[in-house]
């Protein structure tokens, strides 16, 4: 098991999560291999977001949250980090993109510069070069190269979301978490982001929550299906969708759950 945890980018072991007395996840174990897209699917309320926000310990900010079990990221058990610095360093290495695009109410450039400027003193020229590069990676540079100084709130939803992805890339995180990144976007913006995901996984690992099964099918190498807080089934996306191993999953795929 330990060797497995070493090879996987994320390794979840016997993980249960609670909000007060209410159970949100029960005894989940799974491994996310490196350099792949791993999708978490399942009906609303089944605990996908809870798992995602446990990986970078963002759920620490929910007072009623508690958990059992372990999550390893790059070999480190995240809940063993007991001090503030440790968790902050952990989060720095994990990019997160939320369901609602959440640019700060400052300029496009200000948004891009923030994560890096927060942790390192970077000369201006270097910062600019890095911003251009990451905006290109985020497939947003051509659209926004003349709008670096304008407010990020003036962009369309799809542009805001890609800006948020590009912003998360500024710190070069080896692991990225996406929580239904397309649910607030129209189909064209959705395709733009799906394209982006496949180019991003070349040198990083991506965990994406989605309740759009077609999306999981299109972008994910592996898929895990959750139902009522339990991990029902997981494996290569191909197999999950062509030969569902459980009645629950096949019902979900055909839209009956």
């Amino acid at each position: 098991m330990d060797s497995e945890a070493g090879r996987a980018a994320v390794s979840v072991r016997g993980f249960s999560a609670y909000y007060g007395g209410k159970e949100a996840l029960r005894d989940v174990s799974l491994d996310v291999p490196e350099n792949c897209v791993y999708a978490l699917i399942g009906p609303s309320g089944c605990g996908k977001t809870t798992l995602l926000r446990s990986i970078n310990r963002l759920n620490d900010f929910v007072p009623s949250f508690s958990r059992e079990g372990e999550i390893y990221v790059g070999g480190t058990e995240v809940f063993s980090l007991s001090d503030r610095r440790g968790t902050e360093r952990l989060r720095r290495g994990i990019g997160m993109v939320f369901q609602q695009p959440n640019p700060l109410p400052i300029s496009v450039r200000g948004n891009m510069a923030l994560p890096l400027a927060e942790h390192f003193r970077v000369p201006r020229a270097e910062m600019d070069a890095r911003i251009v590069d990451r905006m290109k990676q985020g497939a947003i540079y051509d659209e926004l190269k003349d709008k670096l100084r304008s407010s990020a709130l003036a962009l369309s939803g799809g542009q805001q979301q890609r800006l948020c992805i590009a912003r998360a890339l500024m710190l070069d995180p080896p692991l990225m978490l996406f929580d239904e990144p397309c649910s607030a976007l129209d189909p064209i913006a959705t395709y733009a982001i799906e394209d982006l995901l496949s180019s991003l996984k070349r040198d990083r690992t991506i965990v994406i929550v989605t309740h759009n099964m077609e999306q999981a099918r299109r972008v994910a190498d592996y898929t895990a299906f959750f139902y009522l807080g339990k991990l029902v089934e997981h494996g290569p996306t191909e197999r999950i969708f062509s030969q569902p191993g459980s009645r629950l999953l096949s019902d979900y795929i055909t839209g009956r759950v």
Binding site: L58, R92, I94, G95, P105, I106, L114, L153, A154
Partner: protein, 308 residues
């Protein structure tokens, strides 16, 4: 309804400027650039009926307003924004709601009560802490040094302005969505960095609106200040340095109260209406700017955290 209030406001402006016109005409730019208001008022009061309108100089009063209001707005902003951040970010939702309710009560205290407390507590304290007999003698040629001075005015005004700053800032901070804070945490930022780089910038339009409305209240505030300011429009001098804080002062609004006993003379009335005219313009400027700023930037004016 809105139309009626616009008409009333317009009439107030017309009336005040009509009453001020003779003095403004007789004084020209000297009205804003020269001093001596106190002696001019008493001269005008004893002038024989029918004499031509004398020139007035309000520089001392303008300086009094600028200094008392400027310094107290600065103090109130530091205290107020600090309090709003502390309460909203560290005291939990219920603690914050309770504190804000108390602060709103503070804002509703009549200003004469602030003045009374200033007179009973602040003035003697300032006199005991900062003023010695030696100093009084040293400055005897320039002004009379008592506890009623610029410093006392600043202290009283700060406590009157702070509630406005606190409650508008707190509203703006509370309206910053948690998703923006989480963005910061997800980048590995600590709580203080999130407050500094994310919460405050997002709340900025509301915070600035609070400061401007507070400054507006500061310029217009009359009763409380007139009770503790000393009542003489001394023009500050760079040579006195910090001693300017211990000199008596007379802001425009307090001057209207202070000199109103001399209103029997038409010329004095005209001079006081000139003060009122300037105050009207200042007040309008502050609240208009506050409006514009709080509307924020970006599409639909969602630039910051305030629900205007």
């Amino acid at each position: 309804m809105a139309g009626a209030s616009i008409v009333v406001i317009a009439l107030i402006f017309v009336f005040v400027f009509y009453k001020a016109a003779p003095v403004i005409g007789a004084s020209g730019v000297g009205l804003a650039l020269s001093g001596g208001f106190d002696t001019q008022v008493s001269k005008a009061f004893y002038a024989p009926a029918g004499s031509p309108t004398p020139a007035f100089g309000m520089l001392g009063l303008i300086a009094g307003t600028a200094l008392s209001c400027g310094i107290s707005t600065l103090c109130a902003s530091v205290m107020g924004i600090g309090a709003a951040v502390t309460v909203c970010e560290f005291c939990g939702r219920r603690g914050a709601a309770f504190f804000i309710a108390v602060v709103r009560l503070l804002a509703a205290i009549p200003s004469v009560v602030f003045g009374l407390i200033g007179l009973i507590v602040v003035v003697p304290l300032v006199e005991r802490l900062f003023i010695t007999v030696d100093m009084q003698i040293e400055y005897l040629d320039y002004f009379q040094m008592t506890g009623r001075n610029l410093l006392s005015s600043v202290v009283v005004l700060s406590f009157m302005i702070a509630p406005t700053v606190v409650s508008l800032s707190a509203d703006a901070i509370a309206a910053v969505p948690d998703s923006l804070r989480e963005t910061g945490y997800a980048f590995g930022m600590g709580h203080f960095r999130v407050i500094w780089k994310i919460v405050l910038p997002s709340a900025r339009p509301g915070v600035i609106a609070g400061v401007l409305l507070g400054a507006g209240r500061g310029t217009g505030e009359a009763i409380a200040v007139s009770m503790v300011c000393g009542g003489i429009g001394v023009i500050p001098s760079a040579g006195f340095g910090l001693m300017n804080l211990l000199a008596p002062t007379l802001p425009l609004s307090a001057a209207i109260i202070n000199k109103s006993e001399a209103m029997g003379s038409g010329h004095v009335a005209g001079a006081l209406f000139s003060c009122a005219a300037l105050l009207l313009v200042l007040g309008a400027l502050f609240s208009l700017t506050a409006r514009v700023v709080s509307r924020g930037f970006g599409p639909g004016g969602s630039g910051g955290g305030i629900k205007a």
